[in-house]
Amino acid sequence: MKKYQDLHGVLLVDDDRFTNLIHTKAIERSGVDVVVTAVSNVTDALAFLTEQEDSSQAKPGIILLDINMPGLSGWDFMKAYHALEDRFKVKVIVTMLTTSLNPDDEERARLDNQIVNFLHKPLRPEMFIELVEEHFERQF
């Protein structure tokens, strides 16, 4: 298992629980040592973020965010997220787009300074490793 500085947990936000499952599996297969938490809506995601103590082992360093969710969407999440206190924020937010079919979403993700990247589903182990390598220091 590979450990990275400041990366304890990953928060998955997707209304489709099968997608969450697939993404959890992909992260497990990547060999990166993280606690994966999956939630299925924006409210739970915000609650999870603001309930984590700094010392918590599940405190996420990465959020993988679905955009197209019923009710509050990924963009609604971002709006609420921007208003959060800094101590609740995470290092890396990645939007997960269902397909490459909507250039508008890609454009919007690019314009949000908190979103570091957008990826197309499904997340694969090698995509996750690349993401972690780019933003976190490996601990030996």
């Binding site: 489709d16 099968f18 997608t19 697939i22 599996k25 197209n68 269902t98 397909t99 079919l101 909507n102 250039p103 589903k121 499904p122």
Partner: protein, 375 residues
């Protein structure tokens, strides 16, 4: 005009004035009337009777306010018209006016102030045309246009939602087949492996189709006209297709092509689709020969893309331009049946036309007209 200085001239002039009056009296398409300073009706012609419904006896001496609705009278529209005509000389107005039977008509009114020799306003000439039919026709056309626009928006929205919502379960299908193979692979035999492949291929094909559908619906959004050098365009397409061209041992002959105003990305797609088709639908064992030409016509460019391929039977000449229409089995010619539908949409975006001349076994020529556009 000269001032009459003899009795004969004066007589002649009076005669003409009388004829003018008679003519005005007889005109049927225009209501022509004279009003005094405060808008009371002094004369009435046939047109006025026809348009407004009153006879001369009924109406002369009454104020022209009777042609206006209660609301207009409340806002003093008639008074305002008179004041403005007095100030400006002549004014034009359009609006709903009231007939004798209280029904409404859309009147186009010209009100001209008449002055005495000292320049004081002594009355008004009022000419009214009934434009109700034109007005209604315009309204119908406008409504149709709005309706079409609304339907188009709905359709775009529908395609987008459908593509997105279809994509998600499909993604799960693919993901879980993959997971199944990854986690339980060793438990399955070769036949099961083949079944998995069929599922995966089917899902991937469907994904492709949905993508095409969405591309088609998005085509032509957020674009602007610019100068497009078709010669350069064709060169770049040939370089993009170089592998297929080499594999097919095709020769492509491009005659001098114009620079024209159009949508660059879309034109690129148009020519690329047509060239790909010419390469794809070749006769077995015969190297494709493709020719691209353009000819300047009175109001448009006419492009001809000819090949020596398998050709198209007459009964399919229209059908090939419809989305997802394929003439051949997938095993024979790979494809989604979307290329020519794209082409048609692109050409129509430019206000042009696309058609095909062909005989089975004797090649095809695609004809494209692109009207001259300006930036």
């Amino acid at each position: 005009m000269t001032t009459p200085n003899t009795a004969g001239d004066a007589l002649q002039s009076d005669h003409i004035k009388l004829r003018l009056l008679q003519m005005m009296e007889e005109v049927e398409d225009y209501a022509i009337l004279l009003l005094d300073q405060s808008g009371n009706i002094e004369s009435w012609n046939k047109g006025a009777q026809r348009i407004k419904g009153y006879s001369a006896e009924e109406v002369i001496g009454k104020n022209f306010r009777i042609f206006y609705s209660a609301a207009d009278c409340l806002m003093d529209t008639p008074g305002e018209i008179l004041r403005e005509a007095a100030a400006k000389g002549t004014i034009n107005r359009e609006g709903w006016r009231v007939k004798k039977d209280q029904s409404m008509f859309w009147g186009s009114v010209t009100m001209t102030a008449i002055h005495d020799e000292q320049g004081a306003t002594i009355g008004f000439a009022k000419i009214t045309r009934d434009l109700t039919q034109q007005r209604l026709a315009e309204k119908t056309i406008r409504q149709h246009a709005q309706q079409i626009e609304r339907k188009n928006k709905e359709l775009e929205q529908f395609v987008y939602i459908a593509s997105h919502d279809l994509q998600e379960p499909l993604l799960n299908l693919t993901n879980f087949v993959e997971l199944l193979q990854y986690e339980y692979g060793p438990l399955f035999d070769e036949t099961a492996g083949m079944y998995f492949d069929v599922i995966t291929q089917g899902a991937s094909r469907m994904r492709n189709l949905i993508r095409c559908l969405l591309d088609y619906s998005r085509l032509g959004q957020q674009i602007e006209l610019k100068e497009v050098d078709c010669q350069a365009l064709l060169e770049s397409i040939q370089s993009d297709l170089s592998v297929s061209i080499k594999n097919a041992q095709a020769t492509i002959h491009v005659e001098p092509l114009p620079t024209l105003v159009g949508y660059e990305t879309e034109l690129n797609q148009l020519f690329q689709n047509l060239l790909s088709n010419a390469l794809k639908f070749r006769k077995p064992g015969i190297a494709p020969q493709i020719q691209v030409r353009a000819e300047r016509q009175a109001t448009s460019w006419c492009f001809r893309i000819s090949d020596n391929g398998i050709g198209i039977a007459p009964e399919f000449k229209e059908k090939i331009f419809l989305i997802f229409q394929r003439l051949h089995e997938r095993e024979a010619y790979e494809g989604n049946g979307i290329g020519l539908a794209h082409c048609k949409k692109i050409v129509e975006m430019h206000g042009g036309d696309i058609s095909v001349e062909s005989e089975p076994g004797r090649g095809s020529t695609f004809l494209i007209t692109l009207p001259f556009l300006s930036l």
